[in-house]
């Protein structure tokens, strides 16, 4: 119980640190942070589906697109032109509904087979985004209406806001929106994971047979996990759209889905913190490499053709290498790595909490069926 107070203090300190960047960093860094926060929300959702429920999904980009385009259409012109906050909420629900429509498949198809089935969603989604011009704007996409909340606009168009001498533009304002949404994501996802649904999903991941004889309705829980994961993706899509200020179809391709898978694998399957860490890594790496390309050896400056590797490619190589290294040496991802380092740093502490123990893998005994 005595560990409670430092834990609360640590959380408070983290919150303060996260609130500080808009006062010190320029728009570039804030944008990196925003993309990372949006990705983290999506990755937490995918982590719930893949890490906890053991269901592979390659369709995450589709649900991100539903969220992003859903918001843009609902709040924009052409479109119903709803109040942006309502449009954002409806976009999340829309993504959930899209996941629900897919649930006859998501509830019955297991693991890697679901991954292949969801592949279809990405291609379908991309095709629709390109062809449904009136809603999506076709190849060129659409510009995203700014979010307003009770008269406060999350863009630079509204009345100027200056806090402690720092003018708050779109990035600064969105930063706090992103933080709030990410905090909400953490809070709800951890509530889920530590509650009855999370335990049921983990049980069915580790043994479908055992979970069903414990009373878990397998198909229902699989579908529900898919729907919840889609809703987080939808929320991430809304935030991404706000950060980009323009949605284009080519962004929501298969690569994006694979990026999300990479995030949760790099971060560590089945943990909210891991998914966040993975999201920050995968999102920030290419952006930072592009920015500092001129200072990195072997990396060409953007726009030049003097041999060398372009920054985007270099970032891809690096993160490919990171995945291989992590799979080889830390299969439980960054989250597991941190946990083990922490355990090693305080060897005297008795193994009381699961966090302080070395990573343990599930006991996956052969299922009892002939």
């Amino acid at each position: 119980m005595s560990e409670r107070i430092p834990k609360g203090a640590a959380a408070l300190l983290t919150a303060l640190l996260l609130c500080a960047p808009p006062f010190y960093l320029d728009a570039f860094w804030l944008r990196v942070g925003l993309f990372a926060m949006a990705a983290a929300i999506g990755a937490v959702g995918l982590g719930l589906l893949t890490g906890t429920a053991g269901q592979l999904s390659l369709g995450h980009a589709f649900f991100l697109a539903v969220g992003a385009y859903g918001y843009t259409w609902l709040a924009g012109e052409p479109g119903p032109g709803l109040p942006p906050a309502l449009a954002a909420l409806l976009a999340v629900l829309l993504a959930g509904a899209a996941g629900g429509l897919f649930s006859p498949v998501a509830g019955r198809v297991r693991g890697i087979y679901l991954g292949v089935a969801t592949l279809a969603l990405v291609f379908l989604g991309h095709h629709v985004l390109l062809t449904a011009d009136s809603v999506t704007g076709g190849f060129n996409g659409r510009s995203v209406p700014a979010l307003t909340l009770g008269g406060f606009s999350f863009s630079a168009d509204g009345p100027a806001v200056t806090v402690l001498g720092v003018p708050f533009g779109a990035e600064e304002r969105l930063w706090y929106l992103g933080l709030a949404l990410l905090a909400g994501t953490w809070w709800t996802a951890r509530g889920l994971l530590r509650g009855r649904p999370g335990r049921a999903l983990a049980a069915l991941r580790d043994s479908e047979t055992a979970a069903s004889v414990m009373g878990v309705d397998i198909a229902r829980y699989r579908s529900a996990a898919f729907v919840v994961s889609s809703m987080y993706a939808g929320l991430a899509g809304v935030l991404l759209a706000l950060a980009f200020r323009r949605v284009v179809p080519d962004y929501f391709g298969l690569t994006l889905s694979v990026d999300y898978l990479a995030m949760i694998v790099i971060g560590g399957l089945g943990s909210v913190a891991g998914a966040t860490a993975g999201a920050v890594f995968v999102t920030a790496l290419p952006l930072l490499m592009t920015r500092y390309a001129d200072q990195l050896p072997l990396v060409a400056t953007p726009g030049t053709t003097d041999g060398g590797v372009g920054p985007t490619e270099a970032a891809r190589y690096l993160y490919g290498a990171a995945i291989v290294l992590i799979l080889l040496y830390a299969p439980d991802g960054l989250h597991g790595l941190v946990r083990r380092v922490r355990a090693r740093l305080r060897p005297a502490a008795p193994a009381r909490t699961p966090e302080s123990l070395p990573a343990t893998s599930a006991v996956r005994a052969k299922e009892h069926t002939p």
Binding site: G195, P197, A202, A210, S212, V213, V216, G270, H368, P370
Partner: protein, 286 residues
Amino acid sequence: MSARTSPGLAGDRRPAPPPALRVQDVTVRFAGLTALGAVSFTVAPGSVHALIGPNGAGKSTCFNVLSGLYRPESGRVLLGDTELTGLAPHKIAALGVARTFQNIVTTEGTVADNLMVGRHVLTRAGFAASALRLPGAVREQRAHRDRVREIAELTGLGDHFDTPVALLSYGDRKRVELARALCLEPRVLLLDEPVAGMNGAERARTAEVVSAVRARLGLSVLLVEHDMGLVMSLADEVTVLDFGRTVAHGTPDEVRRHPEVLRAYLGTPGADPAPAAAPAPGEDPV
């Protein structure tokens, strides 16, 4: 889903005796192989009924039919007046039939996490309530966790309550499965080789737990076990299967002397009347 209340939360009162579990002419075939041929027996309310037989006799197949994992080709399984045949496994669990597995099947996480899975049918909190941590969900979780701790104490896992299952010894992990099944507050408990692979002390401890929970919770137990010492000391009735057929049925003493049983176990009629621990435990491939 279930009209059952959770008796444990109301204290340590002794619930009404469970309904009888009747297996009637159940037949299961796998591609021409008859795993169970018209097997019938009844687990009397509150009794310990043992199902024994050599490897491949159909004991585990029988368990899989009872818990809804297999659908029999013909025959019925009844719990009281409710027909179980054709129900999905989770519906059977909700009716109060819990089981353990021959091979340990646990979930990643602590003993507490695993046991809480056993409370699934007795709890309500859904995705929305848990995500938003609604007071009802939080309260429910706390109450059930208290009861789960009691069950952990009862099964001798109290000290390991917050230990990850993967770090436990084999015998303790096996007991986690037993405790998890008890967390369903079952009316009928199906135990598939609860002491297979355990050493003597662990066996004795598990036997104690089984007789203790039976006495305290008043449930019926159907037991598959190769350890004849355990079967003889715990069981009220024994059904012997061989090649999917019932070869004998009766009290432990009657069965022990049954010529068919001796032949099935020892291959020679009229040999040693007390087959100690027949085949190697824990290797039943079915």
